[in-house]
């Protein structure tokens, strides 16, 4: 049984000009199992976004290969993927509900069923009253919730999240973190969650992938020894701070 997602010797080099290149991603080997919650931390510019874009098929790797359920990337894989960007990236000419429905429209799914699901998801993230509003009437945190619903609507097997909470204030951030865990415990997707925040990574993930600075490589993969479901108390436990400290040191060592 192959891993759900696996990256084998994946490298990415950006071509700026014919003879000017940026090695964004070193050599990445990573296996992700079904229903795992993976957090990815690393210094800015180490290629975290690049890695998610490679997995989602937006970019092609320069070397190596990415497989899902043992099969190299092909178009039908997009059905299995959902992506949340750092910005909400909502379409301003669509209502909240129609933004969430966009993936279903594009995939040509039954809209009546999808609409019911969309309303349910929006209710789950506390936006029931806002489904017919325009995105610009919502706060940033609310918009990001909408974009999470949009990623979840097609029930993706793999959910890719690129620092989705980075621009939020601490309170909203923690609220959404809890919400994400709640949704994940219901849906049991596989999540790859990029973040700058070590606490957030440890609190959310089963395993934390720590990356080195450019070209990004995997410095270490840390298992989080906390039980599920995660609770606020866990934040103050010894095993939590030990885990966070290890990651901190790993990142600190690679800061230069």
């Amino acid at each position: 049984m192959p891993a759900l997602l696996s990256l084998e010797g994946v490298e990415k080099t950006y071509w700026l000009a014919p003879n000017q290149t940026i090695a964004a991603l070193g050599k990445i080997d990573l296996e992700v199992q079904d229903r795992e919650f993976i957090a990815i931390v690393g210094p800015s510019g180490c290629g975290k976004t690049t890695m998610l874009k490679l997995i989602s098929g937006i970019l092609k790797p320069s070397k190596g290969r990415i497989t899902i359920q043992g099969i190299p990337f092909k178009n039908s894989h997009r059905q299995l993927l959902g992506m949340v960007f750092q910005q909400p990236a909502l379409l301003p000419w669509r209502t909240v509900l129609n933004n969430v429905l966009l993936p279903c429209e594009i995939k040509g799914q039954d809209l009546r069923k999808a609409r019911a699901l969309a309303k349910e998801l929006l209710g789950l993230v506390g936006l029931k009253k806002f489904i017919n509003r325009n995105p610009r009437e919502l706060s940033y945190g609310m918009q990001q919730r909408v974009s999470i619903c949009r990623a979840l609507i097609s029930d993706p097997k793999i959910l890719l999240m690129d620092e989705p909470f980075a621009a939020l204030d601490a309170i909203t951030r923690f609220e959404l973190t809890r919400l994400l865990l709640e949704i994940w415990s219901m849906k049991k997707n596989t999540v790859l969650f990029v973040t700058h925040n070590i606490q957030e990574a440890v609190f959310l993930a089963d395993r934390v992938v720590v990356m080195t600075s450019r070209p990004g490589r995997i410095a270490s993969i840390i298992d989080v020894p906390l039980p599920r479901p995660r609770k606020e108390e866990h934040l103050y436990e010894q095993s939590f701070s030990n885990c966070a400290k290890t990651i901190h040191q790993l990142l600190g060592l690679n800061a230069l």
């Binding site: 992506m83 429209e105 594009i106």
Partner: protein, 264 residues
């Protein structure tokens, strides 16, 4: 009291009417006290009664000019939109044809008006052609720049969702380009009126530009100013229609402007 005054100042329509009325009254008084002759500057009252008297004549010529404007504008809209879409997605055409078209903008198009008469004859075709030439460019540029400045994240999003080219065009690129397109439309609708008048100045036997020339050459002050008034109203009317359509079609485009007003 203070509050009510503020609300009145915020009401755009009321302020426009008020300032226009002040100008009209001032004008009327100016003509009256300084006994300015009609052929030089008729009073607003004289203009209005002239418009009433020559209503049929003015109506007839207005229709001619309006027809030229609408036809030229419609052709420019269709052509500019189509070519804009093609150029936006074809790097080769953008480097060749687009650059060439931008270069031709250095030619003052008013100078082409007499040439168009030579090419297309004395009829309405030469007028429609000038309106078209003036309107075409802003619409095309609006389309091209709108389609090329789509937020990259939105396109990547379409990619992740597995959208094909046509879907991402229809659902993301084109709606995102609409505000740019309307920028072009607003510019070209003003140019359309100018184009029609100028080509009628050059050579015509009907239309508002023609009747303006005749009226001035015969020193008919009130009639001259009646035509100018109609032209102004025509310009404002067409512009308002485009602005109204913009609000209807892409209400999100200007929202930042209205939202920044503190409503107290």
């Amino acid at each position: 009291m203070n509050n009510r005054w503020k609300r009145f100042c915020d009401n755009e329509l009321a302020m426009t009417i008020l300032s226009m009325s002040v100008v009209v009254v001032f004008w009327e008084l100016l003509v009256y006290f300084f006994k300015i002759p009609q052929w030089l500057l008729p009073s607003p009252k004289a203009i209005i009664s002239e418009m009433y008297r020559s209503a049929a004549y003015l109506w007839e010529h207005s229709l001619v000019t309006l027809g030229e404007i609408i036809l030229g504008f419609a052709l420019a809209f269709g052509g500019g939109l189509l070519l804009g879409i093609i150029i936006a997605f074809s790097p080769v055409l953008e480097k060749t044809l687009y650059k060439l078209l931008v270069a031709t903008q250095a030619i003052p198009k008013v100078a082409i008006a007499p040439i168009l008469v030579v090419w297309l004859g004395l009829g309405q075709l030469s007028k429609i052609a000038l309106v078209f030439l003036l309107c075409f460019f802003p619409i095309m540029v609006g389309t091209v720049s709108g389609l090329q400045s789509t937020n990259r994240e939105l396109l990547e999003l379409a990619d992740v969702m597995g959208a094909n080219w046509f879907q991402s065009f229809l659902k993301i690129r084109f709606p995102a380009a609409l505000p740019y397109l309307f920028n072009g439309l607003r510019v070209s609708v003003s140019l359309a009126v100018i184009g029609a008048i100028i080509s009628e100045f050059v050579n015509a036997d009907r239309g508002l530009g023609y009747s303006l020339l005749i009226a001035t050459s015969q020193l008919k002050g009130p009639l001259t100013f009646s035509v100018v008034t109609i032209l102004a109203l025509l310009g404002i009317g067409l512009f308002s229609i485009v602005a109204w359509l913009e609000k209807l079609v892409c209400p999100w485009a200007k929202s930042t402007e209205t939202e920044s007003h503190p409503d107290n």
